[in-house]
């Protein structure tokens, strides 16, 4: 059975390498600032005790007050899973660093989030709409999208 990594332990690990980067945690999840995502990603991927080889899924949730990016990771060697979250405040011109440089699998998923949720990923190799056409007004998965 796959184990989900304990949030407190991972947060401690992150903070021991980069003080104050893990800002909050619960049993299974750890929260970081969006700007720290790539370096935290590299640590999670390269640390032999955490070893998260695969970026499984990226979701974005519009909580109106802020947007939350939810990254689900998986280690195939250790059969473990982990959830990393990042909150981005504001509604216009949201930018979050891309994780394509760390995990190639982020590419299409980040394009989808830009398309449907309107969060821009900096350093993405090909950030353009994917499911809707260029010029579509707005981002339909936002809570304030009017049909």
């Amino acid at each position: 059975m796959s184990v989900s990594l304990v949030g407190a332990q991972v947060a401690e690990k992150i903070n021991s390498k980069m003080a104050g980067v893990a800002i909050d945690f619960n049993e299974t999840d750890v929260w970081v600032e969006p700007k720290n995502l790539p370096k935290v990603g590299k640590l999670l991927r390269d640390d032999p005790e955490i070893d998260l080889q695969m970026l499984n899924s990226i979701s974005a949730v519009d909580y109106v007050e802020y947007f939350e990016l939810v990254y689900h990771f998986r280690s195939l060697r250790r059969n473990s899973t982990f959830v990393l979250k990042a909150r981005s405040y504001g509604r216009d011109d949201l930018t979050v660093p891309s994780l394509v440089g760390v995990w190639r699998g982020a590419e299409l998923q980040e394009r989808e989030i830009w398309d449907l949720m309107g969060i821009k990923f900096t350093d993405h190799p090909n950030l353009k709409r994917i499911l809707l056409w260029e010029g579509f007004p707005g981002h339909p998965l936002r809570k304030d999208f009017i049909r």
Binding site: V70, H72, R104, G105
Partner: protein, 367 residues
């Protein structure tokens, strides 16, 4: 005098028989050689995730049927498991067995479609495809007995399944389990050692294990590279820990391995169904509860091994009657990440075969 040549960019699709739906590929060719390829998707986008925000948890089951429409049972399974995790809903034993039986039947049906169309693309026009569809038809008829629908089944519910299997379902299933291995032998005798198939698929479109893991590929595409990873073993849900089966893996990660892994998986699925039929016992098929589910505030992610790979649902609940947000981790969509690397350097005729061996369904890519 040298002949002046220049690269040509053409569109394959969205209306093209080998594109498995409405998929468009913008390809730049130098003669017959692929220089660049870019998938253009979205022609079937229906906004499933947004639609789910305005329906209650049971109604969303019908939306999941329409994701990977050749494998509706596993879509149902992944969704109801997430709702059960979110709302702490128990599932009776008999329902778990019925779920596994129907999901494995659907895996066979999906792999039959993948294999049949792959051969179609290799130029074996329609004969192998009709052989595959003949067997798939038997599975669809069994689905009709289970729930009245063949493709868009909506068979599973949070807390169990829609209804128990009718009496005359079981003899049909027994007959299927007995005859299916012989049918797979027949298919393999025609294809697996076929010289034309070998020449066209061996060492064509190779993915390495490192590439596959970094690119988040899952399912038969990942296993064909030699990575022994199957969520039915890694996260044994329902009754997968009580049945004995193997994970077929490939060695090279080429088109042929992807075909072979699917054929071997069909055999394993028959084994699983056989053991489930032996183990299943009478009992309730659904936990009684209100029709309108109100899970507590929170979020949950759960997944299952669909025929295409890891199908996951991430659902956020605000305590209301419908999901606040539902995200679908669609394996067909994410398996397209490495498409460009796979296609560049191959010829036009290989392009169609390599693309077919990834086995995507556009209902799931576009959602």
């Amino acid at each position: 005098m040298p002949i002046k040549t220049e690269p040509v960019t053409i569109n394959l699709g969205p209306q093209h028989p080998s594109t498995h739906g409405v998929f468009r590929l913008r390809v730049t060719f130098d003669g017959e050689m692929v220089l660049d390829a870019e998938p253009v998707v979205g022609y079937l986008h229906r906004g499933t995730e947004k639609l789910a925000e305005e329906r209650n948890y049971v109604q969303v089951v019908t939306l999941t049927d329409r994701l990977d429409y050749v494998s509706a049972m596993t879509n149902n399974l992944a969704y109801v498991r997430t709702v059960e995790r979110l709302g702490n809903i128990d599932v009776p034993e008999r329902a778990k067995y019925l779920r596994v039986i129907s999901a494995e039947l659907n895996r066979i049906a999906s792999h039959l479609v993948a294999t049949g169309f792959l051969l179609d693309e290799l130029g074996a026009f329609h004969t192998p495809l009709v052989y595959c569809f003949r067997e798939r038809e038997r599975i669809l008829e069994m689905f009709e007995m289970l729930c009245g629908a063949r493709i868009t089944v909506s068979y599973m519910r949070p807390g169990g399944v829609l209804q128990d299997a009718p009496e005359d379902f079981w003899p049909r299933l027994d007959d299927f389990v007995k005859t299916m291995p012989g049918y797979i032998d027949e298919l393999e005798s025609l294809i697996t050692e076929n010289e034309i198939v070998l020449v066209r698929t061996r060492d064509i479109g190779i993915i390495t294990a490192e590439q596959a893991i970094a690119g988040s590929l899952t399912g038969p595409v990942l296993r064909s590279t030699g990575v022994e990873w199957d969520l039915r073993k890694a996260e044994p849900h329902e009754v997968y820990d009580r049945v004995d089966f193997d994970i077929p893996i490939g060695s090279v990660g080429d088109t042929y391995d992807r075909y072979l892994v699917r054929v071997l998986e069909m055999r394993e699925s028959v084994r699983i169904i056989k053991q489930c039929v032996e183990q299943i016992s009478p009992g309730p098929i659904r936990t009684e509860g209100p029709f309108v589910i109100r899970p507590p505030v929170g979020d949950a992610y759960d997944c299952t091994e669909s025929p295409k790979g890891e199908l996951g649902f991430y659902i956020v609940s605000d305590g209301g009657i419908s999901p606040y947000r539902m995200h679908i981790r669609a394996p067909s969509f994410i398996n397209l990440t490495l498409l460009r690397e796979l296609l560049v350097g191959w010829k036009l005729a290989d392009l169609v075969v390599i693309f077919g061996s990834i086995d995507i369904v556009l209902g799931e890519v576009d959602r």
